[in-house]
């Protein structure tokens, strides 16, 4: 989907703003639930961007895992942990601008500053990849990473077993 120039750059800028806006929304909302939903939205925007960069497989993965699985985990955690009392929520809302007021200012400032900075890309461009299919890359080139992933998932499983399983005697 390599678009024409002005139209695409506009789209890109919009997407970037959308991404940063969603991230800021996730962080600044007083209610934790909205924060998780904000995270899902950020993930969705990232997926769109990935499609824009024609990396569909990663996009689907991102969507299903980061927009689906992780928010689910967070929501279950929130339900397990104690809900904020109403006056706690009111107090949180009042406090919101005090604690997070600085963020948008900082973001705008840094954004403007980065526009001025120009990092020279004065290096010889590396050769394009011969292997274009993700599946082959993943299986043949990134062999060892799969083993790593298996190991880390097993580790994660053990984490759940060790941390959450009821033990006969209290730890």
């Amino acid at each position: 989907m390599a678009g024409t120039d002005t139209m695409d750059t506009m789209l890109d800028i919009l997407l970037v703003w959308l991404l940063v806006g969603a991230a800021m929304a996730t962080v600044m909302t007083p209610r934790i639930l909205w924060s998780v939903i904000g995270l899902a939205v950020t993930s969705a925007v990232l997926t769109i961007l990935m499609f824009r960069f024609d990396s569909p497989l990663a996009a689907v993965f991102e969507l299903s895992v980061c927009a689906g699985l992780i928010p689910a985990i967070f929501i279950s955690t929130i339900s397990l942990t104690q809900r904020l009392s109403p006056e706690g929520m009111a107090e949180r809302r009042r406090e919101k601008w005090r604690r997070f007021g600085l963020l948008p200012v900082l973001v705008i400032l840094v954004g403007v500053a980065l526009m001025q900075v120009h990092i020279p890309l004065d290096f010889v461009a590396p050769p394009a990849a011969k292997e274009t299919d993700v599946r082959n890359v993943l299986w043949h080139v990134r062999h060892i990473d799969l083993v790593g992933q298996i190991a880390i998932l097993l580790g994660g499983a053990w984490g759940v077993v060790v941390l959450l399983k009821e033990r006969k005697r209290a730890a």
């Binding site: 990092i119 890309l121 004065d122 290096f123 990849a129 990473d145 992933q149």
Partner: protein
């Protein structure tokens, strides 16, 4: 042949946990122990052929693994520390359910560490670092007490920061080099090593490794994680995890992948010196034994990075030799603290005293370890520190050499202070009935102490067979 080092523990992990083999669960510890000892044996005895990549497995699993001399030293250390942790774990974790989980997590950890040490790809290095870290998080929080949880959470958060830094580094290096394997990056670095992007990438990646290695400005998590972890886990952490995930990667990348630049050496030296100073000073006034040993680890890690930073082959040899020695005597110190914790139930030095008469073996071995840490001849620590100081001297970094020597005096101070507060003086009433630690703890103590003394005495042999080839990393 190399891939076995990763596949065997993985296979074992899977087999042990298949639902229909309850009998296998009891053999879990034995399996893990044999894996560790096999690794040690493989490094010491294996023929040269074993180290290459071919063999019938190769065509199925072309992992791109490689084991130069530096890796063999690390594998040996991993094997030794893993065996010690297993033995101490077995004698300290009585509940067999817990022990089974403990062993499994150790297997995950050994997969991760072997992976880190063997892999030749930046991203794979990151993956296996994460594997080791995840298993460490869980091991630290193993007892589910608030302290352990706090230590684990801090380590986790700082690891997340390290991840961000490292991945940014990898991404930018991919931009410059078009790939993430060591060869492509090294080649790219030779041509366009000096440009801003690659310097930024290298800086980011190295800072990620500093956090994993627990060097000074990035060391916040280390004392909390070590002191709050259960006894056998802190042995594993202090002994090898930080070294493999932090220092090994630094040595490997600084020497063969990233461009050897004066600025990078300067950074390494400054961070090393800062670690030595802050580590030693903070350790001086500690009350908690494990926290003091944690700060002592930071200080000794500083020595290693200082040696690495002076850029000469002798410096590298000194750094790697000190890394190996430190793995041995720091593990011994933590095993001693585990023994004390097992018997007295506390690691607060104020409440200890006069344990020397009741726990003679622990006393003697911890004295050996303390003296070796401080660099007292003829023990192992002395030789490696000597090489580092000589390397610094030859590289005309007199200031840093001065700091190294001066701080070893402070090291000797707080270690002897520790010895005095724990083992000498009158026994406090609450520890009257204390006996020597269990066999599972005493045996590793003796083995490690013997190893420290042996390395110290047989220093010429050790230097020639193991260490000098490491110096050959350059050519």
């Amino acid at each position: 042949m190399l891939s076995l080092l990763i596949l065997v523990p993985l296979a074992g992990l899977l087999l042990l946990n298949l639902p229909f083999t309850p009998a296998m669960k009891r053999t879990a510890w034995a399996f893990a122990f044999t894996v560790a000892l096999a690794q040690v044996a493989m490094v010491l005895v294996a023929p040269a052929a074993a180290w290459s990549q071919q063999g019938f497995l190769a065509q199925y699993f072309s992992f791109g693994l490689e084991a130069k001399d530096l890796t063999r030293v690390l594998l040996l250390a991993i094997g030794i520390v893993m065996a010690t942790t297993l033995m101490v774990g077995r004698s300290m974790i009585t509940d067999d359910r817990q022990q089974f989980n403990f062993v499994n997590l150790l297997l995950v950890s050994i997969i991760g560490m072997n992976g880190v040490v063997l892999v030749t790809d930046l991203f794979s290095l990151y993956v296996f670092l994460e594997v080791t870290s995840v298993s460490s998080f869980i091991l630290i929080a193993f007892n589910r007490d608030l302290g352990g949880l706090e230590g684990a959470f801090k380590y986790l958060i700082l690891s997340a920061v390290a991840t961000v830094l490292m991945l940014t580094g990898v991404a930018l290096l991919m931009l410059v080099a078009g790939g993430t394997s060591f060869e492509t990056v090294a080649a790219a670095m030779k041509t366009s090593g000096g440009i801003t992007i690659s310097q930024m990438a290298v800086g980011a990646f190295v800072c990620g490794l500093f956090i994993k290695g627990g060097l000074v400005p990035f060391h916040g998590w280390l004392p909390d994680a070590y002191s709050s972890a259960p006894a056998p886990v802190s042995i594993l952490l202090a002994g090898i995890v930080t070294k493999v995930s932090g220092i090994y990667a630094l040595v490997r990348l600084a020497t063969s992948v990233f461009p050897a630049s004066g600025a990078m050496n300067e950074v390494l030296m400054v961070v090393g010196a800062a670690s030595i100073i802050v580590g030693a000073l903070a350790a001086l006034g500690q009350h908690d034994l494990k926290r003091m040993l944690a700060y002592s680890s930071i200080s000794q890690m500083g020595y290693i990075v200082l040696g690495l930073g002076c850029g000469t082959p002798l410096g590298i040899v000194g750094a790697v030799f000190h890394l190996f020695n430190h793995a041995i005597f720091k593990t011994l110190l933590f095993v001693n603290s585990a023994a004390i914790e097992q018997r007295t139930g506390t690691t607060d030095m104020n409440r200890m005293g006069g344990l020397g008469s009741r726990m003679p073996v622990t006393g003697v071995t911890s004295t050996i370890a303390a003296l070796s840490t401080a660099g007292v001849p003829p023990l192992a620590g002395f030789w490696s520190k000597l090489i580092i100081v000589i390397a610094l001297w030859q590289a005309h970094d007199y200031g840093f050499a001065g700091i190294a020597v001066l701080m070893s005096v402070v090291t000797l101070a707080y270690l002897l202070l520790m010895q005095r507060r724990i083992f000498f003086g009158k026994t406090s009433p609450e520890h009257a009935g204390v006996r020597e630690a269990a066999a599972g703890v005493v045996v590793p103590e003796l083995v490690l102490a013997a190893l420290t003394v042996a390395v110290g005495l047989l220093f010429p042999w050790v230097l020639n067979t193991f260490m000098l080839p490491v110096g050959g990393i350059f050519h």
